[in-house]
């Protein structure tokens, strides 16, 4: 103990710089061995009491609150995760219905287009048939008119030829039409 005392005194003198006050009183109170038992006894008492107060009262309370908070945070995170999944499934459903609607719309458009095309073709066909009929009719009328005109020309030409011959020879020829026919036949 004396050696220890010497070490501490010298160490302490080194730190404090040998203050004059150290000389009296006979050294540091810290080295007064007679005070050691009471200090150790009360240290053991107070430290033990504190240890039990901490481990049985204070620390469980703090850890409880911290745990509660952690649970709450975890809970909320789980809830958020659940909501996120819900939102995602809602989004999927929405997207699916959107795609369905789009497909349906495409189908409807296609149907309408087809129907319109069919109708247009039909109408076009009817129209062209009508036109063709009209054209044929007209062509027939034209041919008839031409034939009529042609036969008219022959009569007129016969009359003209007869009257011309009459004027020239002063007498009405007989069978003008037959002569003309014979002449046309020779030419042809």
């Amino acid at each position: 103990m004396r050696i220890l005392k010497l070490i501490f005194t010298s160490a302490f003198l080194g730190t404090v710089g040998g203050h004059a006050a150290l000389a009296k009183e006979g050294g540091l109170p810290q080295l007064d061995v007679t005070t050691y038992p009471t200090q150790v006894i009360w240290l053991v008492i107070s430290f033990t009491v504190l240890f039990f107060l901490m481990s049985k009262v204070a620390l469980p309370r703090i850890s409880e609150v911290l745990e509660e908070r952690q649970n709450k945070i975890d809970d909320n995170l789980a809830k958020a995760e659940e909501l996120k999944v819900q939102a995602e499934s809602a989004k999927d459903a929405f997207e699916k219905s959107l795609a369905d609607a789009r497909a349906k719309a495409q189908e409807a458009i296609r149907e309408v287009k087809e129907a319109a095309y069919a109708e247009a073709t039909e109408r076009q066909k009817a129209q062209s048939d009508q036109l063709h009929a009209k054209i044929a009719e007209s062509e027939q009328a034209i041919a008839k008119a031409r034939d009529e005109a042609m036969s008219g020309i022959k009569d007129v030409a016969t009359d003209v030829a007869a009257s011309a011959v009459e004027k020239l020879i002063g007498e009405a020829p007989k069978d003008v039409a037959g002569a003309i026919d014979a002449a046309l036949k020779d030419r042809a």
Binding site: T15, L50, M54, A58, I62, V65
Partner: protein, 241 residues
């Protein structure tokens, strides 16, 4: 000038003797109980609301818990969990003792080598017992570092043993010397303020102000160092390097 070491005197308040041993209730005993009460009030009253979103006081109480829990986790690992109440008690006791000593007229219980030594030897013995229980005879392999040539072991092993045995001394002297030196210096400079009077006292007063701030830092730092070293010793006992 006031005696700068008078503040360290143990003064019996209630003389007491148990089985022939002096167990007087002293100023030191008073401040130890004061520390216990202050810590308990600080934590229990701070947590009384059990708020989900903590207020200022509750935050600090939780912070102290998480600070030591983190310290233990980082230095010891998950095996250190069961020593948490002890390490926490140790830290709070040393911290509040150091801080209580900063109150005017207060007594600093941790400025006494016997107190710090008692704490340190408790840590030392506890850690050694933990090591022996966990590892049995294998615990002594702690003194034989790996990868050292056999010849060097003749020198290394005694050094390891001495350094192991000097742990409680370094642990206790560090805290005791810091507290004693700091408080003595504060008293000395405070004495200068008075003796140099109105004209000359301003400079030591300024130094005194700085030193009080510094001592608050030391009060926290030494409690922290004491706890960290305890954690490191625990780690060594549990993991053997």
């Amino acid at each position: 000038m006031a005696n700068p070491i008078a503040q360290f005197e143990i003064k019996p308040l209630i003389p007491l003797e148990v089985a022939g041993v002096d167990a007087s209730f002293t100023n030191s005993s008073f401040f130890m109980l004061f520390t216990v009460a202050a810590i308990t009030i600080f934590l229990v009253a701070g947590m009384r609301k059990r708020a989900l979103v903590p207020g200022r006081w509750q935050s600090v109480a939780e912070l102290s818990y998480e600070f030591i829990a983190g310290l233990l986790r980082d230095n010891v690992g998950s095996e250190g969990r069961k020593y948490f109440p002890f390490v926490f008690t140790l830290f709070m006791f040393v911290l509040f003792s150091n801080l209580a000593g900063m109150l005017p007229y207060a007594f600093t219980t941790t400025s006494h080598i016997i107190v710090t030594f008692a704490l340190a030897i408790t840590v030392f013995l506890g850690v050694t017992v933990i090591g022996l229980v966990r590892h049995g005879w294998h615990f002594f392999s702690y003194f034989v570092p790996d990868g050292v040539p056999p010849l060097a072991l003749i020198l290394i092993v005694p050094i390891e043993i001495i350094s192991y045995l000097s742990r409680p001394i370094s642990l206790s002297v560090r805290l005791f010397a810091n507290m004693t030196a700091g408080h003595t210096m504060m008293k000395v400079f405070a004495g200068f303020v008075v003796s140099l009077g109105f004209l000359g006292g301003w400079l030591p007063l300024g130094i005194e102000v700085l030193m009080i701030g510094f001592e608050f830092l030391v009060a926290f730092l030494q409690a922290y160092v004491f706890t960290v070293l305890t954690c490191i010793y625990l780690h060594d006992a549990i993991h053997l390097h």
